[in-house]
């Protein structure tokens, strides 16, 4: 299997703008072309689009609008982890020798139908994500003594990190007290414990090892991939203090890249809600079970940007189909030393964890400079 590198990125600012999915994607693609040296439209032989929007034939449409005539073009839809999954598909095309250059673009509008999984009958009338996140939160509080302040610290940390991210939806810091005083949505969850649906787009360019250096002097290599779907229905999560799909995906990704959690310098993880970051820190191996709150608190108090340096989903906003690609973009920039005010010094190994529908599926990537 030949090596595959990330060689170019493009982002739009995340907003609540009423803009079409095609225009959002074109803006990120324009940014990618402007940021990538020597990239010509004729070079691109795969275009993959990532969204939970109801668009049809979208990859071909944005290809035409961007003047691209790829060999392979299609959409990838997997709700919130559509982005990372589309990058895995692009990786596979290149690694298998079917293509050399793949452009992956993800976008979502603030009013995306992807926010609610209507199919999931097991959620009854409680289909909004705040209900499943409340169940995870209550279970983690019950078993490990996690507190509302622990949750608020995750939010405060990620909002603070987002202030150094010019593309983030949120542009201000929130104190732990402000977060704890924000509107109660359920007994456990407050408004600022949640990521916000918004409009935004992210694009990334993948290249084969033979062509990568044409487009960048510092390619970032995808060295580990893990994906796992345990179910689609939320209530199939038998243990609500853990995310089994993330454990499986991380195990495979670490094995493929021959590294461990202790080797990871910087990570973007899927904090759709504050409890998600706490459980993921444990399931990815950054902290022992029951100790992630302490881990996040230390990151916050020492201003360590290792986890979610761009602000995660909570600070940046969560345009579903763009989220995984924006996470990968951030880690790519970190490993290239181009993350400006957000830079984690000396970062060589990065991790991305992107999950979907109450952790019923997860994707984990290991990236290395």
């Amino acid at each position: 299997m030949r090596g595959v590198a990330l060689v170019g990125t493009g982002l739009t600012k995340f907003t609540r703008s009423n803009i079409s999915i095609e225009s959002l994607m074109l803006l990120a693609m324009k940014s990618l072309f402007e940021n990538t040296k020597n990239l010509a439209q004729k070079d691109v032989d795969v275009v993959l689009t990532s969204t939970s929007d109801n668009s049809k034939y979208l990859a071909s449409i944005v290809s035409e609008l961007a003047g691209l005539t790829p060999k392979i073009s299609h959409s990838v839809e997997s709700l919130c982890n559509s982005g990372a999954n589309s990058v895995v598909s692009a990786f596979a095309y290149i690694a298998a020798g079917l293509a050399d250059i793949a452009l992956v673009v993800g976008a979502e509008r603030f009013d995306s139908p992807g926010r609610i999984l209507e199919w999931d009958r097991s959620r009854g009338q409680y289909k909004h994500p705040i209900y499943w996140s409340s169940m995870f939160t209550k279970a983690h509080m019950r078993k490990y003594g996690t507190t509302k302040e622990d949750l608020a610290i995750v939010s405060a940390k990620n909002h603070k990190n987002a202030t150094a991210n010019p593309y983030a939806y949120f542009e201000k810091e929130y104190s732990v007290d402000e977060i704890m005083q924000s509107k109660n949505l359920t007994e456990e969850i407050r408004l600022l414990d949640c990521s916000l649906p918004c409009s935004g787009s992210a694009a990334i360019l993948l290249a084969s090892e033979e062509t990568a250096k044409k487009y960048t002097d510092c390619p970032v290599w995808i060295t580990g991939i893990g994906q796992k779907t345990t179910s689609a229905g939320f209530t199939k999560n038998t243990d609500l203090t853990t995310m089994q799909s993330t454990i499986h995906a991380a195990t495979d990704a670490y094995k493929m890249s021959n590294i461990q959690a202790s080797n990871v310098d910087v990570a973007e993880i899927h904090d759709a809600f504050t409890i998600c970051e706490i459980i993921e820190l444990e399931d990815l191996g950054f902290a022992k079970k029951g100790e992630a709150s302490r881990y996040a608190r230390i990151c916050y108090e020492t201003q360590d940007r290792k986890i979610n340096p761009r602000g995660g989903l909570i600070g940046s906003g969560h345009p579903l189909g763009a989220t995984g690609i924006a996470q990968i973009t951030e880690i790519c920039q970190q490993l290239q030393g181009k993350a400006e005010k957000r830079q984690v010094q000396g970062a060589k190994v990065g991790l991305v964890q992107n999950m979907s529908a109450a952790a019923t599926s997860s994707t984990v990537l290991i990236l290395q400079s």
Partner: protein, 107 residues
């Protein structure tokens, strides 16, 4: 409407069960998730076990487990302050009106 939705609308919680391997198939489907054989529909027990719960405003919502395998979210109607995980519940009401609705009470 599907069989599942029709029955739920009539106040009856039914689940699909494989005619070959007798596996309960949840969420409901026309085919067994174990062997792809067709299913029959049978009523689920009205007794459930409380798996987890929380509260939004004055409404308690919960996950309840039926027959050791089927888990659904619904409302829990109780004035009791003492609710504990593992407690037995009764399915007091179910309905379908654009979405599924399950209402539980403490047994």
């Amino acid at each position: 409407m599907t069989t599942f939705e029709n029955e739920l609308k009539n106040g009856k919680f039914v689940c699909s069960e494989c005619i070959k391997c007798n596996k309960l198939v949840w969420p409901p489907s026309d085919f067994c998730s174990n062997c792809f054989t067709k299913v029959r529909w049978r009523q689920v027990s009205t007794i459930a076990t409380l798996v987890e719960f929380s509260k939004k405003d004055d409404t308690i919502f919960c996950i309840a487990e039926f027959e050791g395998t089927i888990r659904v979210m619904g409302s829990l109607e109780t004035k009791s302050e003492e609710i504990s995980i593992g407690q037995e519940l009764i399915l007091a009401k179910c309905d379908y009106d654009k979405t599924e609705r399950f209402v539980f009470q403490l047994k």
